[in-house]
Symmetry: C2
Subunit: 332 residues, 2 copies
């Protein structure tokens, strides 16, 4: 291939994201400058946080400008290097965006070992989502053996890791996911004690049954009515790691959470967080997760879209929960 392909932000979504918010362009393959590395990307990660970057308003990071390449984590192969730490043939993870080739500063890339775990895992369980799960669980939920941990979006890239780590920690782990198929996977493959299909419409009753001793830790990925329902079953002194609110991202008017009083009555600690706030934990989390995944003690599942041109559709599907496990785009 002699050309680069990029996906640009063409316009900002009003509420739901549509294909027309993106533009696919062909460009020359860039020439790496001093200290830079040319990477041929193999995999692109699609993650819910990207929805926030499509807005004009500031989220925890500045938004993507109209006409810019969409932001995104990637793993690829070094094809040219002007940086002493990287050599041709190395595999590296970075944040080089929705494109086939990127020239990136060497310091922003981290070498990964394709023999330890498959390359794509460095964008999922052994990447940003895995480190997010680790940080939220151990730093903010702080589960103790015997406690009950509830995880929303339990079959997702983050939720699946949270629950498996929670089981290792000796917790009762209850997932919440959309549909019987995802719930079966969460229990039978990932080893959660139970998983509730929120689409069945009995979330409160099902939660009460699945958590006979109440809920001590809640790892929140979705927000909205799911959060409002889990607030009803919290125990005194429980902890909430607020990682994501995907159910709100596409709404013009966010859902109003009624049971805030549960946070008072139960003296709950709720901590909003993003993984980058604790870069001190990042490498430690990833090296531990790499070992656990290579030993088969942490399992994961991927939804793979083929080809960069299919990234917009896959991203829209991710926001609607149509993915099953970590959403990736295969570029090579």
């Amino acid at each position: 291939m002699s050309k680069n392909m990029q996906v640009l932000l063409a316009s900002r979504p009003k509420a739901g994201v549509s294909e027309s918010n993106f533009q696919i362009v062909e460009r020359d393959i860039p020439t790496p400058g001093p200290g830079e590395v040319l990477v041929r990307n193999h995999w692109l990660s699609l993650d819910p946080y990207m929805r926030g970057r499509m807005n004009a308003s500031k989220s925890y990071a500045a938004g993507v400008e109209i006409g810019d390449v969409m932001t995104g984590g990637t793993v690829g192969e070094v094809v040219e290097s002007n940086h002493p730490r990287h050599k041709v043939g190395d595999f590296v993870v970075g944040n080089t965006g929705w494109q086939l080739y990127a020239a990136a500063a060497g310091e922003t890339l981290n070498r990964v070992d394709p023999d330890l775990v498959p390359l794509s895992a460095y964008l999922g369980v052994v990447g940003m989502p895995g480190a997010t799960a680790w940080t939220g669980l151990f730093e903010h939920c702080q589960p103790v053996a015997g406690e009950t941990l509830v995880v929303s979006a339990a079959s997702g890239a983050v939720g699946g890791v949270v629950g498996q780590l929670g089981k290792m920690q000796g917790c009762r782990v209850v997932g919440i996911a959309g549909g019987r198929m995802k719930c079966d996977y969460v229990v039978k493959e990932l080893g959660f004690d139970a998983c509730i299909d929120y689409k069945a419409g009995r979330l409160y009753e099902d939660l009460k049954n699945a958590c006979p001793s109440g809920v001590d830790c809640y790892f929140e990925n979705v927000g909205g009515p799911t959060m409002d329902t889990v607030l009803r079953v919290l125990n005194p002194f429980s902890r909430i790691a607020l990682c994501g609110m995907i159910s709100d991202y596409n709404l013009e008017e966010p859902y109003g959470v009624k049971l805030i009083r549960s946070l008072l009555v139960n003296r709950v600690r709720l901590q909003g967080f993003i993984v980058n706030d604790r870069m001190d934990l990042y490498q430690r989390a990833l090296s531990r997760l790499g070992v656990l995944v290579s030993q088969g003690r942490i399992k994961y599942r991927e939804s793979i879209a083929e080809g960069l041109q299919n990234a917009p559709t896959a991203f829209i599907g991710l926001l609607a929960g149509r993915n099953f496990g970590k959403q990736l785009v295969k570029l090579v």
Copy 2:
């Protein structure tokens, strides 16, 4: 006086509290048993938490049963003692309820010094509300000099102390209160930097103007739309001490808080708490507050109802914000 008077819970309120929820009865003055002390109460404290105790559902403490004496903090004089630590003529604080006389276990009473601060202050600034302010501010808000602290119900028993301690800590302190008179008091008497009258209907604009560097700490006493508005002006890594939600207590359906996403985006730590969770801090807070009040460095204001028979009306007024400062009932 040869009889005791008590206020009983006659029925549970559906939403708003009315006089008919209470019953005033005359009883014999009790005889203290072994280890007990007979106290003649001088002051009864009225506090928002009592609204929760009127419900059947468990709040952080068990509710008051129908026909029981309403729960409440009191300060009074020992008139008979079967306990070695208390002698006739001592003044003690305790939780002896809405009544003129009480026989209470000696261990549940703490002696106070009427020469340091006025007796009534041991139910307010140098009592449970003062310790609540101390715990929420220093343990949960953890303000640092130069930060901006917002306090709702700023003229109240808790809020007034929070703001004055925040000023000593070197913060910019902004109160929220209902009405021009309360706001004037908060700024001119208590020394807050600014106070916003939420009844003026421009809370968001006024908050933005009063907090040009955003909000780092929020001490929350009211909840509801006030909370939703403060969530819009929070800074990254801000801290919320969730102490009370008085705006919700009388609603059948609680207000839905829309801007939960601000907790995520700004990586906020929110901690629900009650003062009793940190009894380790209680005496330290009170001895420090006692000194500060006796030195005139912490000011306070009281709303005084005369006579136990007026306690129900005063309590209903407190829930509606008709008090101005600490609400007390004078019994002697």
